[in-house]
Amino acid sequence: MTQYLLSVLHDETVTPPAEVTERMYAQVGTFNEEVKAAGSWVFAGGLHPSSTATVVRAVDGEVVTTDGPYAEAKEVIGGFWIIEAADLDAALAWARKGTLACGAPVEVRPFQD
């Protein structure tokens, strides 16, 4: 089994109407239950907007803290799942259900062994 990171690429420039957001939460809740029931669940979470991010980095041994995010982008990681799957096809099958549930693109990346 390999663990995969399924990150949700959230478009922060768009604020959907409340009922859309509510429906999305409900769909994601159902999806989460399905992942758990299948034994594929490792961890998942939703993130606050990227404007709440802080970047810490070492420059020549000195640590500098700056107001984030690290890179300005239209789409940022809005949340993620970590799942366990036999192979990429199984991971992509979860990603397909995930993107339908949350209504945003989902990027699939394998964890190193």
Partner: protein, 409 residues
């Protein structure tokens, strides 16, 4: 045994051997290295001992034994490979499993939708056809380093992301088969109309695509689109001899000397079209093959049943409503309804960047007597065409225009 014998075994068996070794070793690089080593052993020993009765089986067994030896020596290669090998102990009998399925597994791995199309094509040609990186680079006229990088990246992704090594189930097939067929057809079309260079045709690429097409038809005889693709390639390849005039200039289909068409390829392609259409599950490749079959039925360009061609393009446009299909359909409209109707189809197609769009438009405009507009369209086509033979063709067409001045734009 001669070098040609070994070359023939290499061409014929390498893909099969690599496919089986990938299954046994669970690692593409290891499999390729082992098969390469086995062919080196063959080159050293066969001249004296003769070619074994089952050369492919010999290569596979030798490659597996070499891989086992190597893994014993290099314990650091990781446990996964060792476990895989323990499951298939090296001294088990000669039988190497369902080899046909191994090649099918491999083609689905190479053409997995998670890989970019250039990587799918390069991997397929490398692993299944045994083409080297320099050969692939030459065929597509891209730098060797680019091809090498595509292959390395794709192999790394296959290993790290665990792209599976299996034939997809029936439920997945509608999504998984199209990229496989597209990779084969892209190889063929690049061979039939090279994007760049001075020659229009690259016969080696067409031959590899046909080989793959035949292999797929052999492995998936119940998939109508697989048969449709093979038929389409056969019927197109049949015209290759008439497609280029002396001096390397392309000859358009209606003007080709049909006595130079390969009748046996035509017959084979037509039989396949009939066989797959009988299944009643038409798809884009089958319809394109049917269009090619209509052309191949006509004794001369003038006797082409353009109405049937147009009907088939209407069907194709419903299945695959792309601008390129619309462009090809416009040619049928030209012959059935005339140049004005064709121009109306062409105008508004979002194909500004495609030289064939401007070349087709130029031809239609010339038929309408709008020579000045036609010349401008040929100029635009010439500016976009990157193949030397096509450029010569377009310059010839432009030079043949009168000096008409009734153009409006």
């Amino acid at each position: 045994m001669t070098a040609a014998d070994l070359e023939r075994v290499y061409r014929g068996e390498r893909g099969r051997c690599v496919a089986t070794l990938v299954r046994l070793l669970g690692d593409i690089d290891l499999a390729e290295e082992a098969v390469q080593e086995a062919f080196a052993v063959a080159a050293a020993t066969w001249p004296e001992r003769g070619v074994p009765p089952n050369p492919g089986g010999w290569i596979t067994t030798t490659a597996r034994n070499r891989a086992v030896d190597r893994l014993r020596r290099e314990a650091t290669r990781g446990d996964r490979h060792r476990q895989a090998l323990l499951l298939h102990a090296p001294d088990e009998p000669e039988e190497v499993g369902p080899v046909r399925d191994d090649r099918l597994r491999l083609v689905f791995t190479c053409c997995h939708p998670a890989l970019a199309q250039p990587a799918q094509v390069a991997l397929t040609l490398r692993l299944l056809c045994g083409l080297t990186t320099p050969e692939i680079a030459r065929a597509f006229l891209v730098p060797e380093a680019t091809v090498a990088q595509r292959i390395v990246r794709a192999k790394k992704k296959i290993a790290a992301a665990r792209i599976p090594y299996r034939v997809p189930g029936d439920a997945e097939l509608p999504e998984r088969l199209p990229p496989v067929l597209a990779a084969v057809y892209l190889t063929f079309t690049e061979g039939y109309t090279a994007t760049t260079g001075d020659d229009l045709l690259r016969p080696d690429l067409c031959a590899e695509a046909l080989r793959l097409g035949r292999l797929l038809a052999d492995l998936m005889p119940d998939e109508p689109e697989v048969l449709g693709l093979l038929a389409l390639m056969l019927l197109t390849q049949a015209r290759a001899g008439a497609r280029v005039a002396d001096g390397g200039t392309p000859v358009l289909l209606p003007e080709q000397d049909r006595s130079r068409w390969d009748r046996s390829l035509v017959a084979e392609g037509q039989a396949l079209v009939r066989a797959c259409l009988r299944r009643g599950a038409p798809g884009p490749y089958q319809v394109q093959a049917a269009i090619a079959a209509v052309h191949s039925d006509a004794p001369s360009g003038a006797e082409t049943d353009w109405q049937q061609v147009l009907d088939l393009y209407d069907l194709l446009a419903r299945m695959a409503p792309t601008p390129v299909v619309a462009l090809n359909r416009a040619v049928a409209v030209l012959h059935v309804e005339g140049p004005q109707a064709a121009l109306e189809v062409l105008d508004g197609l979002p194909l500004e960047r495609l030289h064939l769009f401007h070349a087709t438009r130029a031809d239609v405009l010339a038929r309408l007597g709008r020579d000045r507009d036609a010349r401008a369209a040929y100029d635009r086509a010439l500016a976009l065409a990157t193949n030397g033979a096509e450029q010569r063709f377009l310059r010839g067409r432009r030079a043949a225009l009168g000096n008409g001045t009734e153009g409006t734009t």
